[in-house]
């Protein structure tokens, strides 16, 4: 299998992972808004921190994509 073909397979998996993370972030936002309206303020900061962690993972994967492209040329 060529490196390019391997990259395509790898990025399909990566795309699925990033999409799942974004869905999870959407859920976290929904929970946060619900908690805000319900006066349950203690869950808001952990939810935002969790969302930030997911963003960092997504950004890390995106950086990997860019580096992979640069190395393969």
């Amino acid at each position: 299998m060529s490196l390019r073909r391997q990259g395509t397979t790898l990025f399909s998996a990566m795309l699925a992972f990033v999409a799942s993370a974004v869905v999870l972030q959407l859920w976290l936002l929904t929970v946060s808004v619900e908690a805000l309206l319900g006066g349950d303020y203690k869950t808001l900061t952990p939810a935002a921190a969790g969302s930030t962690a997911l963003l960092l993972m997504n950004a890390g994967l995106l950086r990997y994509v860019f580096r992979f492209d640069r190395d393969v040329g």
Binding site: T8, V22, T52
Partner: protein, 173 residues
């Protein structure tokens, strides 16, 4: 622009068809490119969601977190007569209800149902606060016991001074 340059541009146009300029990616590479674009797009969406999440967390610092103001709400005589009285606390925009329980205890809650904000009323037969919109019921501790509401009513602290009743504080809803 001279004729030679015009001719050369004509050559390029002839060698590169218009559809090729509009769609410069080969079929084989299409997936390769679109996945990257999608990852970039999703990461941007991820960033926006983080911003929204932190905005929600920050908003909680500015939300009304209860009140300590003092306000006269009525007399004990009227409460004894009707079983409950309606009042506004801490502002005129916040309807509340005070109830004298069958055990003789004085309790008060926000009148705003935690389901869809209809006004709850005292139901003597059910010994609770009833929301007529969707048949929600809260007990006299303010907890939801029937119907769609899932969150408790905001409690108002009362103080009795002789025959007069004062609201002296309200928990965040």
């Amino acid at each position: 622009m001279n004729a030679e340059e015009q001719g050369c541009q004509g050559c390029k146009a002839a060698t590169t068809p218009k559809w090729r300029k509009d769609f410069p990616i080969e079929w084989e590479g299409a997936d390769y490119v679109s996945r990257r674009e999608m990852v970039k797009f999703l990461t941007l969406g991820s960033l926006l969601l983080v911003v929204a999440n932190w905005a929600t967390a920050l908003a909680s610092r500015f939300v009304h977190r209860g009140s300590q103001a003092e306000r006269h709400i009525g007399s004990a005589a009227s409460l004894d007569r009707f079983g409950s009285i309606l009042f506004r606390y801490p502002t005129d925009e916040d309807p509340c209800i005070a109830v004298l329980t069958p055990e003789g205890k004085l309790v008060a809650y926000s009148q705003v149902c935690t389901h869809l904000s209809c006004a709850v009323v005292y139901d003597k037969a059910e010994n609770g606060l009833f929301c007529p919109c969707h048949h929600g019921l809260f007990n006299l501790q303010g907890q939801p016991v029937a119907g769609p509401p899932t969150r408790s009513l905001a409690r108002v602290q009362l103080e009795r001074r002789g025959d007069q009743i004062f609201a002296i504080g309200k928990e965040a809803s």
